[in-house]
Assembly symmetry: C2
Homo-oligomer: 234 residues x 2
DNA sequence: GATTGACTCGTACGGCGTACCATACGATGG
DNA sequence: CCATCGTATGGTACGCCGTACGAGTCAATC
């Protein structure tokens, strides 16, 4: 059976010229490492989306063999977990630690969280399906601490946190998905126009064409925090 | 080439006995149809999750060849779209149409929406990634109409709708994901205990062990609607 | 009887994740 | 100096996937 396989262009074995000493890394690729794998995975995910990440492509980008990856990571799920956590780091609010009110602090962290996920649109929909990594737990801890300091009673703390979580996740997943396919909105608009009589109200309000994601997010978050405030610090 | 394939138990060509008229469908499998394919896909998704649905398994369950499916559906994505929409139908509020206040109406629809998705836990995380089908558009239209009738100004309508959407989607996706893996929570608890010092507040509030999803959902939704009410019908 | 259109499905292709195994190489220590 | 061993690399192969292609069956029609 003659191999019909594609190129597999032989990579010559590093031995390019013995007179020229190897310097450090002219172009022979730095060695594999967990960190480099994750960074490259994030690049690949940003460029090609969730389905675009395959172990083969990842190895290609790294200039290595596929199976070499498995020395550094357990499996593909592991790559997802690590890439996801790497994108959720939080450096904290910009100013001094004490001068701001709890509401500004909360809004800043949530906004930064959402921003990080939107810069890597594959991340939002991945987050709920994976175990919670250290960075997202850190954000929850900070949120928890801020709200507690603001006077939210222990009994109501979890409701408040999960409500904010739900809102941010829903907003970001929705936004990231719509972002990926602008034509979906065109298609939806067309469908709406064809079936105009079926959906008069959302057609009139141009719900699906609303472009002001940022503003809508902030205002909705405001509604939620209003609900919180009216209950806990009238 | 001897067929090494599995069973493929030859379906005799319906011609079983000309004296006995064919009844309707003794056990020869009803014929393939778009509807039967979708119903079976939903069964399979419920039983095995998103990754459990493959065209081969689907065909197996239907007692047909794999490629026969492609006469009735375009491709696997099509199957997802149809299965998803089939799960999002809304039959409306239980009582007479006029007597209830807008808030009860909204809560009922959103609760029913969430319930439907949780009965099919694969559906929630699928919804944002696919084009909006007629059933979910119908829900948005109803929501839109109810809020408009309740006095929400046109300019604020989209913010209100998207906020509710975000909240419901976030809550349901999160819940459905946690549902799938109870051990995630055990693992998270363990991690929290090992790293107790890193996350004291969320450990103390037992955030990740909170079991009252239903109650948390309702209370958070209450917060959001409070924010809405305080603005639009003080 | 020939033709057509609706429907079914076997085969095959390219791609996937990853198990298994052979290899290469620096450090160790006899 | 050679043997051994831990670290790291990667080729091959297996079983699974989605689906293109084209051959087949069968009822209705001419």
């Amino acid at each position: 059976m003659a191999a019909k396989r594609t190129g597999a262009r032989s990579k010559q074995p590093r031995r390019q010229s013995e007179t020229l000493q190897p310097e450090q890394e002219p172009r022979g690729e730095p060695p594999l490492s967990r960190e480099r794998i994750i960074a490259t995975a994030v690049e690949l995910l940003d460029a090609q989306g969730v389905d675009g990440l395959t172990m083969r492509r990842l190895a290609d980008r790294l200039g290595s063999g596929v199976m070499s990856l498995y020395w550094h990571v357990d499996n593909k799920e592991d790559v997802f977990d690590l890439a996801l956590d790497s994108v959720l780091e939080y450096r904290g609010p910009p100013q001094t630690g004490e001068s701001r009110d709890w509401r500004a602090e909360v809004v800043h962290m949530l906004d930064d969280w959402r921003g990080g996920m939107l810069r890597h649109p594959w991340s939002a929909s991945l987050l709920p399906r994976r175990a919670l990594g250290p960075n997202i737990l850190g954000r929850l801890e900070l949120l928890s601490k801020t709200l507690a300091k603001a006077g939210v009673a222990d009994a109501d703390l979890n409701v408040a946190i999960w409500s904010l979580w739900n809102y941010v996740m829903g907003a970001t997943i929705t936004r990231a998905s719509f972002d990926l396919s602008d034509d979906d909105r065109a298609a939806a608009q067309q469908r709406l126009e064809r079936l105009g009589e079926s959906y008069p109200t959302i057609e009139r309000s141009r719900l699906l064409l609303d472009d002001d994601w940022e503003g809508t997010f902030r205002k909705g978050l405001g509604l939620l925090l209003d609900g919180l405030s009216s209950r806990y610090d009238p």
